[in-house]
């Protein structure tokens, strides 16, 4: 028997590729709790308190220190004098990391 797929209406959800949540992924992990932004405590895939639409409208920002926040949350923090331009998590000077596309994630999307 030959099985030919003509059309497949599938359902998926998107996740930020934060580099630390998809290392040993399998397909079943679709409903784990997920990480939250350390500042606003909303999940990364949610949006910061000032946004209404998640995803590209409310992106994440990666620090070279490997900490990740909602971009809007971090910029607001850096705008306060208390921040002293430091990462709120480790208090090292904040340096935004270049996102390396196609870095060799293991797992589902780029075998």
């Amino acid at each position: 028997m030959k099985v030919r797929v003509k059309h497949w209406s599938a359902v998926a959800q998107w996740r930020w590729n934060t580099g630390n949540n998809n290392n040993n992924d399998n397909y079943a992990a679709a409903d784990d709790e997920g990480d939250v932004c350390g500042i606003c405590r909303v999940p990364y895939e949610g949006c910061c308190p000032t946004c209404k639409m998640p995803g590209d409208d409310c992106p994440l920002i990666w620090g070279q220190c490997s900490h990740v926040y909602h971009m809007h949350c971090l910029l607001k923090w850096l705008g306060t004098p208390t921040s002293k331009q430091q990462c709120p998590m480790d208090r090292r000077p904040w340096v935004t990391a270049e996102r390396k596309v196609n870095n060799n994630h293991t797992g589902n999307e780029a075998p």
Binding site: V3, K6, S9, V11, W16, R99, E109
Partner: protein
């Protein structure tokens, strides 16, 4: 010894009498003439038997007149009257006999015609025995004699009338209304009413006659109005009263009126009683019919307007409420009724009672039990929400499309400074809330304390519909969300906005992916946290399906470098073409079915357990159901228990081939979205942490306060009753104690 003086006195008296009787006639000729006159007059007056076949003796009027004249001159009229009344008394057995024979006949036949005949016969007797007015009216005593006669005749007549006579009169009067006994020349039967009047029966039977009117009105109202709801009946009834009842009333109730104005005044009392009765009868009827009138709405609007008018004249509001509540309890609020039907009837009740009683007091009282009942039905919200988004599976919608879309309304606080303010109606209870302006949706949503439950259910419903969308046309859902935004507010629908945007984003992404590397997969890519919790599955798609997923995910990530895809492999549908040795089959199936048939392309025979191992964790019943799909399509055959073989070449199905799977396929398709109820049980555990923190830091708190504080928690939507149950459960577990309504943590 008689003295001379006495003798002289007797002589004088005798002489006086003689002179009076003899007058100044010569000799005793005067006395003789008086004697003749007396004989003639008493003979003339003597009551005779009408049933005596002998013809009545003829009298010379002139002689009779002269005789009375003579008696009058002799001043013997009073004596003659006594003799007449005595004779009358002695003859009355004749009347008694007449009455008895008629009434016996009536008892046998119940025919009012007999009563009518009796009455006319009694009039004949009365007339026959009546002293001739034209002969005696000129004398001083004339009128007295006639009155004495009337009184004596009636007294005796009434004493001999049997109890059945009243019944007879009633049926006769009723017959006059129906026109069944009246001669065609005299439809209103004025002759009969004259007879009644002559015998003074009208005064005697006035109440009885009125009751005939009441009963006649009742039966007419019932006959013409029962079930007739689609046209206004009151104008017709009024016209009927004018045409039928008022003319009839004139004889019994306005006799002796000399002109129309006078008649009107005389009939006013009884007329308004009749009119009241007509309204009351209709009101009672409509009250009894109210449940079905509501069912019939809007066709029954005329009946509702009638009822409104009736209620303004007849105070039957409490009865209406009681009756309708009773009917609702019996016919609506029971486990056998569909929630959708209860809601429909409730909405109709709202609309109907607003017509009958615009201030809404009746509605408030009737609606209260319905609302309390609906609150405890598990699928009420779902039904309301389905109706909100026009999920018209059963045609009838709770909401008119014509009804303008309003934001939800909160109950208004009374503004006493408003010059338009009017006090609440007197029968409004203390908890009555005027609901003047609320639209139907606000009223339905207000069954619950919080609108959050609706928002949740809306999200679940929208998610289900979006995931089931076949043609990709979002217009309808978009329009729904826009409408709901107006009702529930922009922020409440924010999550729905994200869902809609996910749908359009998915399409855009898909277009891009397809342009890079065509793929038969067309996924809906959702934003987690914004969609209702989806059923979790650990399923893994085998073979080419996994390849397709990986290719798609790869293209996605090269289009959106900072994002990855996670599949919900068990959701969605797959359209397959299966090429077998002798045939090609097309099928549109859920992923699990597709996964299994893919595995059968590797080898022809599988056990159920092998199959399950290959797709990860799926339940046995789900696996059997999926296999059943293919068995039904004659692609698989259950070789032995739990062993399935691919039918590469079609085989005839033997009779016993399928039954083993029969029950497995009965399993209901669960919606992929977890129900609100399931979510709630989970959340309550989270809220316990809240309650614990609250009681630790704020000391003991009342239930209201706890509820208010819990509303701070994201997504908290429990009612205070639910919270109370939860706290009671926590108390049983020793987590909290309660004293004077204040809860605190247990030690």
């Amino acid at each position: 010894m008689v003295s001379n003086a006495v003798r002289a006195q007797v002589a004088a008296k005798w002489q006086e009498s003689f002179t009076r009787l003899n007058r100044s006639e010569p000799g005793i000729s005067g006395l003789m003439a008086f004697s003749d006159a007396w004989t003639l007059a008493t003979e003339f007056l003597k009551p005779r038997d009408l049933n005596d076949p002998k013809p009545r003796r003829q009298y010379d009027n002139r002689r009779v007149r002269m005789a009375f004249d003579t008696i009058n001159k002799c001043r013997r009229l009073p004596v003659m009257m006594e003799v007449f009344l005595e004779d009358l008394h002695n003859s009355q057995y004749l009347i008694a006999r007449e009455v008895e024979s008629h009434m016996n006949l009536y008892s046998e036949t119940s025919d009012p015609v007999i009563v009518r005949a009796l009455i006319f016969r009694l009039v004949e007797w009365y007339n026959a025995w009546s002293p001739p007015a034209e002969q005696i009216i000129f004398y001083r005593l004339g009128q007295t004699i006639i009155s004495a006669y009337m009184l004596s005749f009636q007294t005796h007549l009434f004493s001999v009338l049997p109890a059945s006579f009243a019944r007879g009169v009633k049926s006769l009067v009723a017959a006059t209304l129906l026109g069944t006994v009246s001669p065609p020349s005299d439809q209103r039967d004025s002759a009969l009413w004259h007879a009644f009047d002559m015998l003074r029966l009208v005064e005697r039977y006035e109440t009885l006659i009125a009751s005939v009117g009441y009963e006649y009105i009742e039966s007419h109202v019932h006959e013409t109005c029962a079930g007739a709801w689609s046209e206004p009946m009151l104008p017709k009834l009024r016209a009927w009263m004018l045409e039928k009842i008022v003319p009839w009333m004139i004889w019994p109730f306005a006799r002796g009126a000399t002109n129309a104005e006078e008649a009107k005044t005389m009939m006013q009392g009884v007329g308004s009683r009749f009119e009241f009765h007509m309204h009351k009868t209709l009101c009672d009827l409509r009250t009894k019919e109210m449940f079905d009138i509501i069912v019939d709405f809007p066709d029954s609007v005329p009946a509702l307007n009638d009822l409104k008018e009736c209620l303004q004249r007849v105070d039957q509001r409490a009865e209406l409420v009681q009756s309708l509540r009773r009917a609702n309890r019996k016919r609506l609020l029971h486990p056998g009724a569909d929630t959708k039907d209860i809601l429909l009837q409730y909405v109709s009740t709202i609309k109907c009672l607003r017509i009958v009683d615009p201030p809404g007091v009746l509605l408030f009282k009737v609606a209260d039990p319905i609302r309390r009942y609906l609150r405890y039905r598990p699928d009420t919200i779902r039904c309301i929400v389905a109706s909100l988004v026009g999920d018209g599976e059963s045609g009838d919608s709770l909401i008119d499309d014509s009804e303008p879309i309003h934001p939800l309304q909160q109950p208004e606080v009374e503004n006493y400074a408003d010059p338009e303010w009017i006090p609440e109606p007197v029968d409004a209870g203390p908890d009555f809330r005027a609901n003047k302006t609320s639209d139907i949706i606000s009223t339905l949503v207000s069954i619950y304390d919080s609108k959050d439950l609706f928002i949740k259910e809306l999200q679940v419903l929208l998610a289900q519909r979006l995931l089931a969308l076949k043609d990709g046309n979002l217009d309808r859902e978009r329009r729904n969300v826009e409408i709901l935004k107006i009702r529930f507010g922009e922020s409440a629908l924010q999550v729905c906005e994200v869902m809609l945007r996910d749908m359009t984003d998915s399409r855009r992404i898909d277009q891009h992916v397809q342009s890079q590397k065509p793929n038969v997969m067309h996924p809906t890519i959702i934003s987690r946290h914004f969609w209702p919790a989806l059923e979790v599955s650990d399923m893994v798609m085998p073979g080419q399906f996994q390849d397709l997923q990986e290719q798609y995910a790869k293209e996605f990530s090269s289009f959106k470098p900072d994002k990855v895809l996670r599949w919900h492999p068990h959701l969605g549908r797959i359209h397959l073409e299966l090429e077998l040795d002798d045939r090609t089959v097309e099928a549109d199936v859920p992923p699990l079915e597709a996964a299994f048939i893919e595995l059968f392309s590797e080898k022809n025979t599988w056990t159920v357990d092998e199959l399950i191992t290959r797709v990860g964790k799926v339940t046995r019943s789900a696996a059997l159901k999926a296999l059943g799909t293919w068995v039904d399509m004659r692609l698989l055959k259950e070789e032995s228990e739990n062993v399935f073989r691919l039918l590469s070449v079609a085989e005839d199905v033997t009779e016993d081939a399928t039954p083993k799977l029969g029950m497995a396929s009965l399993r209901e398709d669960l919606p992929p979205v977890i129900s609100v109820q399931q979510q709630q049980a989970e959340q309550m555990r989270v809220y316990w942490k809240f309650i614990e923190g609250m009681l630790t830091n704020l000391g003991s708190l009342g239930l209201d306060r706890i509820q208010a504080m819990l509303k701070l928690a994201p997504g908290y939507d429990r009612t205070i009753e639910q919270l109370a149950n939860f706290m009671e459960a926590a108390k049983r577990e020793g987590l909290v104690t309660v004293k004077d309504g204040l809860w605190k943590l247990g030690k």
